[in-house]
């Protein structure tokens, strides 16, 4: 019913359950749309005004923010407070207008100052002149004031004038010279005025552009006074703006309020309505259907909710367990899954953490990551998005600790280094740690084989997903021939490689598997081509793809390279910090170098690990099966920047 419209919309917005969809370009038969364009524009203009005001405020009186404040979650407010913000909004908007107006005035003042400075610069050469620039002739004497485009001294000028007009009688005073200008006043008997002018003109004499009736000195003083006055006014305006900074929080809230309103009005304009009822179409995640129904019943008993199957164009909402959820942002950064894709998040999450750990591979750094992210979550109570990002790094930290222990690296070789330094022993991490470790430097070849083997698993999992998708879509030929045979070939290669290390029998088995699958590929890959030769050539040509698999596999050698980089950099800084011996001064140096060095190592290598683990997911695995291109689910919600409603579901 129409009278419940406001309540229902407010409840929907708070709950963020539904993505509203309009029923089409125009309202359906028998319905009307409400035109909210003008209100919407008003709200948006207000929101923009508040943004502008905040911008000015942050320029003139920057908010004191801690370095870590970006982790902070939005402020929680009670839904009732919205009423207060709404009531205050008119006042706050006028404050914003005042701020913008003052800022505009300040811009005008600045322009005026520039103008004054220019005119002062023009007057500067005339400072010595004690008569006004527009002095007229006396009854007997002509006065000529102006500039010549060259430097003259007294002798040169007399000579130049005498040359031009030998009979001229004159008296002059040079006021100012610079390499390309000479300012002078020249007196001559009135009857000789014309010949004097002519003589002067031939050597380039020109009169000042804006002569005034006051002496230049007085004029300059006036201008300076004016400039000072303007500076004072400007300062006052600035003070006033700064004094308005106390409204900053209210302005933020007001901005959010108008964003909120404009969101609501956008939806309102998409409703089909008659005089008594209104209809709202939208997408709801299946799991939330019950909640939505309950909510609508609560808001308005006469409300009817009807669910149907989603159409082709439906948006996608990813849903994952606690372990995989942080990695969702990595998936959506690539692309939201399309309807026919499977959600790759759980697989991606596992490999993302795992590979990150292998590249960062230091138990000490991993522990720091776990602690730092844990503390940030605890102290700042960040919003969901930020919390997920922190969680992502926390899980990566766990994997990092694991691999750090495998590679025997705790802040590089710090434990062994300190042990040696204070006891004078000569021990390595391998001897110090009670479990067998893989040394990144000594066992590099071994780790490289391990990296490529892990890569093989990663790629096979990706292809397995493709296989599954094809089966689900009943494209059996694609599943078995295009994906299955390649998987078989790769497995054969793996068995062959393992056979080289362990048992010659496996070599034969691996070779047989590879040959069988290769023959299978030759026979099937050309199946869409015409003619027997076409089919055969297509099949043989497809074997060329093997190069792309080889390059994919080699790409995993970065697991070794980055793992080694972390270890070696840490070791270098440990070595440097140990150079100064165990004297008190040496210990201070040691602590400083140790802390700074490891900070650098963490920064560089965490970045490298993050980027490269992402690349392994995107390029090596996603290319095997993932299409993407879906539309993310964007529910009708409170898209506020500064506050969030208490108890509302986060978007």
């Amino acid at each position: 019913m129409k009278q419940d419209r406001k309540r229902i919309l407010e409840h929907l917005q708070d709950s963020a359950l539904i993505q509203v969809k309009s029923s089409g370009e125009k309202a359906q038969e028998g319905f009307r749309r409400k035109d909210t364009a003008s209100q919407l524009k008003q709200f948006e203009r207000n929101a923009e005004l508040t943004q502008q005001a905040l911008h000015i405020l942050s320029r003139l009186s920057p908010e004191k923010k801690g370095m870590l404040s970006s982790f902070k979650g939005r402020k929680e407010i009670d839904p009732d407070e919205i009423g207060r913000i709404a009531a205050d909004s008119a006042k706050i908007i006028s404050v914003c207008q005042k701020i913008c107006q003052l800022d505009k005035q300040r811009a005008d003042y600045a322009a005026e100052q520039v103008r004054i400075r220019t005119s002062l610069a023009q007057l500067e050469p005339w400072r010595q002149l004690d008569i006004p620039l527009n002095t007229k002739d006396t009854p007997t004497t002509a006065v000529l004031i102006g500039t010549l485009p060259k430097a003259y001294d007294n002798v040169q000028l007399s000579e130049a004038l005498a040359k031009e007009c030998p009979e001229l009688i004159f008296e002059y005073e040079i006021l100012y010279t610079s390499p390309n200008m000479t300012c002078l006043t020249l007196f001559t008997p009135k009857k000789q005025r014309e010949s004097a002018e002519k003589a002067l003109r031939t050597i380039g004499f020109s009169q000042p552009l804006n002569p005034t009736s006051r002496t230049p000195m007085v004029k300059m003083q006036r201008q300076q006074q004016k400039s000072e006055e303007i500076a004072q006014k400007d300062e006052a305006a600035k003070e006033e703006i700064i004094s308005l900074a106390k409204y900053r929080e209210s302005i933020c809230e007001t901005e959010d309020y108008f964003i909120l309103r404009s969101e609501k009005y956008k939806v309102l304009s998409q409703l089909d309505q008659t005089n008594h009822v209104f209809v709202l179409y939208g997408y709801v995640p299946e799991e939330d259907c019950k909640a939505l129904e309950a909510l609508c019943q609560k808001a308005s008993p006469s409300c009817v909710v009807d669910f149907g199957e989603a159409d082709e164009d439906a948006p996608i909402k990813l849903k994952n367990n606690k372990f995989a959820e942080p990695a969702q942002s990595i998936v959506t950064m690539y692309s939201t899954p399309a309807k026919e894709d499977i959600d790759p998040t759980p697989i991606l999450a596992f490999f993302f953490y795992f590979f990150f750990g292998m590249m960062f591979s230091d138990a000490g750094y991993g522990l720091l990551m776990i602690l730092a992210t844990g503390l940030a979550i605890k102290i700042f109570k960040p919003d969901k998005r930020m919390r997920n990002n922190l969680k992502l790094f926390q899980y990566c930290g766990v994997a990092t600790v694991f691999w750090g222990l495998v590679f025997g690296s705790i802040f590089g070789d710090a434990p062994a280094m300190f042990y040696n330094m204070f006891t004078g022993g000569n021990i390595t991490m391998r001897e110090l740690l009670p479990w067998p470790i893989l040394d990144t430097q000594k066992d590099a070849l071994m780790i490289m084989i391990l990296s490529i083997a892990l890569g093989m698993v990663h790629i096979l999992v990706g292809m397995g997903c493709k296989f599954y998708i094809c089966l689900k879509q009943k494209q059996y030929a694609k599943a078995f021939f295009d994906t299955g045979l390649w998987m078989l070939l790769l497995c054969g290669a793996a068995v062959l490689a393992a056979g080289m290390a362990f048992a010659p029998v496996m070599q034969t088995i691996g070779l047989v598997i590879m040959i069988v699958s290769a023959v299978g590929l030759v026979l099937t890959q050309g199946r869409e081509k015409k003619g027997i030769f076409g089919k055969l050539i297509g099949g043989v040509a497809s074997l060329y793809d093997v190069t792309s698999y080889i390059s994919d596999l080699l790409s995993y050698s970065r697991l070794l390279a980055l793992g080694l980089t972390t270890g070696v950099m840490a070791q270098v800084f440990n070595m440097l910090s140990g150079l100064f011996g165990t004297s008190p001064v040496g210990l201070i140096f040691m602590i400083v170098i140790f802390l700074a060095g490891h900070a650098v190592t963490i920064g560089l290598n965490a970045l490298g690990s993050y980027v490269h683990t992402m690349r392994l997911q995107y390029v090596e695995m996603f290319s095997k099966f993932y299409e993407g291109g879906g539309r993310p689910f964007e529910p009708f919600s409170t898209k506020s920047k500064y506050f969030k409603m208490k108890g509302s579901k986060e978007s």
Binding site: M333, A444, S555, S557, A561, L564, L604, L607, H612, R615
Partner: protein, 157 residues
């Protein structure tokens, strides 16, 4: 003695040439990034990531150099024979030249990636992945250098 000289020369080649590649790559990327930041300083995080991507070559070179130094008697290990010195030298050329030229190329890619991200921040992950495509060649060079360097002390030449 000549062996040690060759080993030190090798360490320098690996560090310096790969460093040149990274320095030029990061330099041009940083220039572009600062242009973007002058318009919108809120993109600093993303720009930093893209700018640092061509920086790994220098690190790889440095690591090869360091591993040579701890294996050639300067920071540990035995003094190498003449043959081992040549082996170090041969190994260092891979990451030196590979790192340098891939650094140049990655720098160019990073510049384009930065302009792409400046236009639309959604392009960030695509830019990042495309820039790391270049990296594989520095990596391969690094691994060749690495495998040789760690096996040199056992070589009987």
């Amino acid at each position: 003695m000549y062996g040690m000289f060759l080993a030190i020369l090798a360490a320098s080649i690996a560090t310096v040439f790969a460093g040149i590649g990274s320095a030029k790559g990061v330099g041009s990327a940083a220039q572009t990034a600062m242009g973007v930041l002058s318009e919108d300083s809120s993109k600093f995080g993303k720009m930093l990531v893209l700018t640092l991507l061509p920086g790994t070559q220098g690190l790889y070179g440095f690591i090869v150099g360091f591993l040579i130094l701890i294996n050639c008697g300067v920071l540990g290990g035995a003094i190498p024979t003449l043959g081992q010195g040549f082996a170090f030298l041969g190994a260092s050329v891979a990451i030196g030249i590979g790192g340098m030229i891939s650094g140049f190329a990655q720098g160019k890619a990073a510049v384009s990636g930065i302009t792409m991200t400046a236009k639309d921040e959604k392009n960030f992950s695509k830019a990042m992945v495309s820039i790391t495509l270049v990296e594989i060649y520095a990596l391969l060079a690094f691994i060749v250098s690495l495998l040789v360097v760690i096996s040199v002390p056992g070589l009987k030449v």
